[in-house]
Structures are given as structure tokens and as C-alpha cells.
Symmetry: C2
Subunit: 337 residues, 2 copies
Amino acid sequence: MVTLAEVAQHAGVSASTVSYVLSGKRSISATTRERVERSIRELGYHPNAGARALASARSNIIALMIPLRTDLYVPVMMEIAVAVATTARAHGYDVLLLTGEEGPGAVRRVTGSGLADAMILMDVELEDERLPLLRGSHQPSVLIGLPAEAGGLTCVDLDWTATGALCVEHLAGLGHRDIAVIGEAPAVYERHTGFAERTLDGLRARARQTGVRVLHRPCEGGYDAMAVTLARILDERPGTSGFVVQNESAVEPLLALLRQQGRAVPEDVSVIAICPDQVAVQASVRLTSVAIPAQEMGRHAVEHLMAKLAGRGDDEVVLITPELTVRASTGPAPAAP
Amino acid sequence: MVTLAEVAQHAGVSASTVSYVLSGKRSISATTRERVERSIRELGYHPNAGARALASARSNIIALMIPLRTDLYVPVMMEIAVAVATTARAHGYDVLLLTGEEGPGAVRRVTGSGLADAMILMDVELEDERLPLLRGSHQPSVLIGLPAEAGGLTCVDLDWTATGALCVEHLAGLGHRDIAVIGEAPAVYERHTGFAERTLDGLRARARQTGVRVLHRPCEGGYDAMAVTLARILDERPGTSGFVVQNESAVEPLLALLRQQGRAVPEDVSVIAICPDQVAVQASVRLTSVAIPAQEMGRHAVEHLMAKLAGRGDDEVVLITPELTVRASTGPAPAAP
DNA sequence: GTGAAAGCGCTAACAG
DNA sequence: CTGTTAGCGCTTTCAC
């Protein structure tokens, strides 16, 4: 293993000079810099991460805590994780992957050991048990997701309330008066996941304002569950002409069932999904949708973390404005029968 | 920050004693151990990761390199990643997430800096450009996926050849004589991804043995692409009664299209998928499938890495035996018309 | 069963 | 612009 001292000797300079060439923290003459860089190349030198972390008290690692549940929103999670990793690399940081399994203790372990300089928490719940620990530690952090009480924390999230409102607005504008919302699995609501509840709030508030009726039904993924849910909805509100779907694994089943029942999309019923763009364009009908901007969230989270690490800290809540893309699944409400 | 020295002082012992209590590398009297552990608790001590890495020359971190493409097999990738992370934790290791973006250079960076003690490579291609670097470095590593030349490397993968054979066997046993294979996107074959080519080999070999005809068609995901692909297949081989699908995003479109054309599954045509179990059971028809054992692969990879790190190294190729689960999408071939 | 002490490789004052 | 040097906190001989 090549050490900094060996590089220094090879280049005929002192260790600190090599260190400063590497960090750029003080000016170096062009000739010296070149000699050092040449030695580094020739010897194949790589700074030792542990030594660096010890001496500088910074690991250049950020921890990313993903949920253990790999059933919900997998593509979104993955996309966020990849965006976090690539953005972090662009800033010279590596990413340590923590799963929810270890529980809140992971926060303590990582902050305590100096393994990571900062952390990003995904899938934050309204009353998240990791938050007290996070507030206690002095670790810079960013949440992806918005807890009930964000005081003193930096959060990045899609503005789900606005997302819900946007969906209703679009459908109401097309003349739909009876809207059904196919939600996530009941468990998601039970554990008070912020995005689900907020979407619902936005949906309902705008519905009141526009005089539209909204019927919300949670739904497990898959074809069978969707069939049951749909039957119940149409039974209760036969006049339903608009659907808002916030459940990736219910999208395709819903479309298949509607087709099967002879209800044409968008002539008879309109469907709008809250999902990644990729899902919307790959569906059997190109779906009008509000995108879940996974990459943007990951990127934002890292950028904010970097700002904090640079001392330009600002505890703020960043809500990304939702964008609705009209595709082929929504149209004017059919004339009342 | 609490240091080991402070703990030692608090407990009235030497630093080395505290260290040994922590590592268990030499016997400690019960009373001493208790005093030390008490001090650790009272002071809230956490060993510093950097210092530990420097002194011991081991970081207790393994690097996991995931592909940058987040379009292919996302749920599988995610499941593997989570399995790797949790298994690694169980062995006292953390996981560093590397994306393919950084390219082969990431291998050098991580091995050179001692950031990680070992690495796991996912999505290994037949002629993977990371492999020469890996062979050169002395870093313990495990590949998930099987390159063309595995000499000197440890690999974990599903036995894709057997997987293909298993599919044909099942359909042939049910009397199907004309089988169509819906494959991954053409790009997957072009970049010589091992699993895709091997599956095909297995499929064809067994087809020859059983006197079955196989027609292979790559397919981009989504409904439209599937519609085109299906039309061509039925045009070319009208007698096709069995489908093998190795493309998650083609599964539901295929089922929808068959339904739409009045071809009942499994009465008229049988469909067998190569996909995670979760996808198989959530589809609109419960699919007979060969599972992609993501968790098992992740777990295996870590276990082998641990063995190597412990010196019980063994360069070997572990091929997981595929398992076919019969569900509701396959049945006897219809009588010839 | 326990202590003392020598580093691990690097950073960042401090000194010129 | 460059060199000297004192640690960073822990592991691990070596010695008792």
C-alpha cells in the first residue's frame, strides 16, 4: 500500500505539501503540484479513507436510510436511492445504505461512530420514531417525506396536498361530478404515512370547493383486490365517471377491469394516476398523471445536505410543486344519463 | 465525543482492556468486563469508525455496486440490495452503495482507499469491464451474475439455463408444441447480459430434446410494444399455444391482449413467467412461474463474502436451482384444430 | 488477566 | 509558497 509519506519522498517534498495538493486548501506552485501529481500517478497512490476520516473528523459519507418494506413504491425508492448516490458522488461523498430493519438505533450508531457525516431518511412517517433521536444528535440531516411536526428539520417532499387538489381540479374541469379515489393499501393509512393522508386532504378540500363528490377506498395491489374495490365503488356510486389512482399495483388491474366491463377510457370514464412518468406511459392506456419526481427529490435532498455541511444550513421545508401531464386517459365527462 | 481513553479512565482500567472487552479477542475477568461495560453505557461511548479502520486496516464495510440503469428489473435489484444490507448487518458490516455511473474506476477507488473491505457486483455482463480490475486488485469480491469467464472469481446466480429448460419442460409436458418466448428488450441482448442469453440457450436446448418449436422475440416493455410483438408471433406461428415471458413489463400487457382477443388462459393458451413471486401472484391471472430468488441471491453473496474475509475463501460458482410454481396460467394444450 | 506504548496514514495548526 | 510536528482514537504487539 502506497502512503502519502512515500509520495512525498518520491516527489521530494513534505507530507503536508502532498496533502495540500490533494485538498487544494492552500496555494501550491505549479511545478511542485506537477511533481506531486506525477508521483501520485506513478506510485498509484490512493488516500486512505480511514486515516483521512480520523484526522479530519469527516468521513465524506452520507447515510441513506431506506424503508425495510420493499413492497411499497419500489421503483420510486430505487430511483431516489440512485439519484442520491450519483448526486452525492458529484460532491465527493459516498453513500452508506441503511435499511429500516435496524430501527432507530441505526441513527445512533451512525452518528455516534462518525461513520457518516450526515444522513437522509426516506419514507418518513407523520410520527416517525427516528426523529427525536435525529433532533437530539447534532447530525445534519434531510428527510424525504414530511412528518407531522417538521420544526428544526429539513424536509424535501412532493406537495401531496397540491397533488390531490390538482387531480380533482383536472377532473372537475372536465365536468366530472363523482370521483372515486383508489388509494394505497389500508396498512399505509394505518401507519400514518404522510403522503397518503395529505393527498387525501388535498383531494377532499378541492372537491368541496368545486362541488365534486369524492369516494375514497384504500386498495391492496393486484387484480383480485381491485375487482372487489371497483365493484363496491360502482355499487355505491354508479355515477362515478372519474378515478384517481394512487397505487402503482392497482393501475393496470383497474384498466383491465374497466375494459372488461365495456367502460371505455376516456370516453366513459376518466382515469388519472399519481405515479412515476414511466409507469404512466407504459400502461395499457397512456395515463394522464401527476408525476412522482423521484430523481428530483433525491437530488434536492443531497444538495440541501451539502449546503448544511458547508455551514450554509437552513432548516426549511421544500415542497416540490406537482405537475400534471395530460395524456390519453382523461376526457370530458359523459353527458348525464 | 467520548473516546476509548475516557472510558478506560472512568472504569479504572487501561485502554487496551477496553478495546479487548469490545473485540472479545482475549479473555477478561467478569468483574472487569462489567465495570467497563457499565462505563461504556454511562458515558454513551461509540467507537470511532475512522480510528478503528485506520488501526485495524479493516473498515467493516462492503461495497455494493448496482447498475445505473434503473429501468430493468428494478424490484429484483432493490430486493437484492436490501437482502445484502440486512445480511451484512447481521455480520457486523455496513454497505456502501455504488452506482454504475462511476464506471470501473469505482472499483479502483474503493479498493485503493480501503473504504470497503470487499465488494459485491450486481448486473454482471458476460464481458464485464469491471472484471479485469477486480482480478487485479486483491479485494475479496462476489459477483451476482455469471460472466463468460468466471475463472478466479466467485459468482452467485440463478441457473438461468436450467430455468429456460424448466419452462419448456413444463409446457412440453402439457402437450404444447409451439412455444413463443417474449424476451427482454433488444438492448438487453445486445449488451450480452448473461441471464438473457443463457435462458434462451436452456429454452432452445430443451426444445430440441422434446421436439418443441420455439420462437423467441425480444420486446420492449409496455402495452403497445407487446401488441406489435404478439401480432407478429401469431402471424408467424398461428398454432402457438404456450408463452414464456421473461420481461416484467410485458406480463400484464400480454394477459390483457390475450383476453381482448378472446384467448382464454389457460384454456386456449398457457403462459409461464420468469419473475419474482410477488409479480406472479399479483397479475390478473395467477401465473405459473419460475421465481427469481432475489433475497436468496443477496444473502448468498454476502455469506460467501464473509467466508472469504474470514480466510475460508473458495472461488466457486454458485448456481441456484430454479423452482417452478404451478399456478393458474398453464394447462393442457388445446386439441389440435 | 491486565498494562504500556508504538504506530496506523493523514490533516492542520504553527513556523518560517 | 513550503516544511515540521503534534495529534486524531483505536488496535495490537510486547511485557508482566
